[in-house]
């Protein structure tokens, strides 16, 4: 079938012209639309609108603020759904601490309010309304209990109300919120004019790239020599994504049957988030040993050479693995010792050699996990994982 696939990234955009993958550096002085026209008008002219599929992670993706009543149910469930829907920037507020919470300075694309099972008293009151007055947001969705709907609806303009994401057994119910969040690209979002303009090229829905990548994972075996359980690390200019097989997580109360969950480190990138990456690296207790092992010294972190970029990317891989390991108890910790494969994609696949990658991964496994052997590492050199995901989505919607 004739198909043109386009992925708009924060630094590159890529086209898959019936199997031929091309990449172009983004020109930030012009709109994405214009950039595409300038570079690929010939390719674009070959396809009908219905033959074009687009995914995008430009503009850093959507930002979310989640307000929930507990960490392990409301916030954790909403965060899981948001990550898997391709949302990038997620801030959470525990409702019992809302008095102390500071409203974010930047515009939030969507606020999610959640708490309580159906059948118990509403969890929200005037404090929520007062707090929201200071928040600059574009959309707001309520996925808490039925009892809270009336009060919120009366006091919040344009409130979207969806099914409670916590069911009567305290299990996660993800369908409605997930559909809503993945469709937000379609919705009328100010500040994402760039994306809306892309509908001039396609009659298909535009999805966020991380959502597309997540959908590619069950079929990843058809593209690479990988075996489950595996992780995919996507190190970009602004953020780093990690997608992981759900059996790598111990003691979780989330059970969805989707096979792979996603997590984002929003301040871990080699270009836009370079400063926070360097900061994160410098505060890691293993970093000097690591730099020594890589044969460089700490000054390289302030450098702008190619060698510095390589080192930063290696640090990013290290920090991602470190933060999801048992050494760092955060949102999830993964059983990295049973991992069979690691797949690297994104900017890293352009910069690091196999040797650079092996070096950092074996340091992590030997030094941090005390394991003799490292998993099998695959680098998505052509950067084609997303094409698999777009195909999956395309087939389902056909």
């Amino acid at each position: 079938m004739n198909q043109l696939q386009i992925d708009i990234g924060s630094t590159y955009f890529k086209t898959n012209d019936n199997g031929k993958i091309n990449q172009y550096f983004r020109n930030f002085d012009i709109s994405i639309h214009q950039d595409l026209v300038n570079n690929c008008s010939q390719i674009l002219s070959k396809y009908q609108k219905e033959e074009v599929s687009i995914c995008s992670s430009a503009n850093g993706g959507l930002s979310t603020l989640i307000i929930g009543v507990t960490s392990l149910f409301s916030l954790k469930y909403a965060t899981n759904i948001a990550f898997n829907s391709g949302i990038n920037i997620i801030d959470t507020i525990l409702y019992s601490k809302i008095d102390e919470a500071v409203a974010p300075a930047e515009t939030i694309n969507v606020v999610i309010v959640v708490g309580g099972i159906d059948g118990v008293e509403s969890k929200f009151d005037e404090k929520l309304i007062a707090y929201l007055k200071d928040v600059n947001y574009q959309n707001i969705v309520y996925v808490g209990n039925i009892e809270g709907q009336k009060f919120l609806d009366e006091n919040i303009e344009n409130l979207m109300i969806l099914q409670n994401i916590i069911d009567d057994k305290l299990h996660i119910r993800e369908d409605e919120l997930k559909a809503y969040l993945t469709n937000l690209y379609q919705a009328d979002i100010t500040g994402k004019e760039d994306i809306k303009e892309l509908y001039k090229f396609t009659s298909n829905q535009i999805y966020s790239t991380p959502y597309i990548v997540n959908n590619a994972l069950p079929k990843l075996k058809t593209l690479f020599d990988v075996a489950d359980p595996f992780i995919v690390i996507d190190i970009g200019g602004a953020t780093t994504d990690i997608h992981y097989s759900t059996d790598l997580v111990d003691n979780k109360n989330i059970l969805t049957g989707s096979g792979f969950d996603r997590l984002v480190f929003k301040k871990l990138g080699v270009f836009k988030s370079r400063e926070s990456l360097v900061f994160g690296a410098k505060s890691n207790e293993f970093v000097y040993e690591l730099l020594d092992y890589l044969g460089v010294n700490e000054h390289i972190l302030d450098d702008s050479s190619d060698k510095a970029t390589v080192t930063l990317m290696q640090l990013a891989i290290f920090l991602v693995l470190y933060q999801v390991s048992n050494h760092h108890n955060d949102y999830v910790s993964l059983k990295l010792e049973i991992l069979n494969s690691i797949v690297l994609t994104g900017g890293v696949s352009k910069v690091l050699s196999d040797e650079d990658i092996d070096k950092i991964i074996s340091f992590f496994y030997k030094k941090i996990l005390n394991y003799r052997e490292t998993p099998n590492v695959i680098t998505d050199r052509n950067y084609e994982i997303w094409t698999l995901g777009i195909e999956e989505i395309h087939n389902v919607s056909q």
Partner: protein
Amino acid sequence: MRVVTGVVGNDIHVVANRLIEISLRDRGFEVFNLGVNTYLEEFIDAVIETDADLLLISSLNGEAEGWSRDLLFHKSRFDLDGVLFAIGGNLSVGEATQEEIVPKYKAYGYDLVFHQIDLNEGLDTIEVALKESI
């Protein structure tokens, strides 16, 4: 009345856990059973989400001991007045008497402590305490 229940610790004690759930239901409670291997934070958060009147934790081989020391801290994070905290099972690792165990666990922040007490007897006591607290 709503109750959150579950088992502490790493051993699989499914049968006991399920029997407690069935008993509670039989007595008319709405039960939220978190099952085996449940963490303290999970219990507390489940109480908040469900507006439970009672938290009933069971521990079968003394594992609750070290774990319960954080209870007061977790309780302080939320407004949990009016929630009855109960723990039962075998609450000590070695041999220990009621007289040693009960005050210790009360100091951790439990309202009711049942060390090696028959299930029905324990649940009767809980029901009385819940009636009194209304």
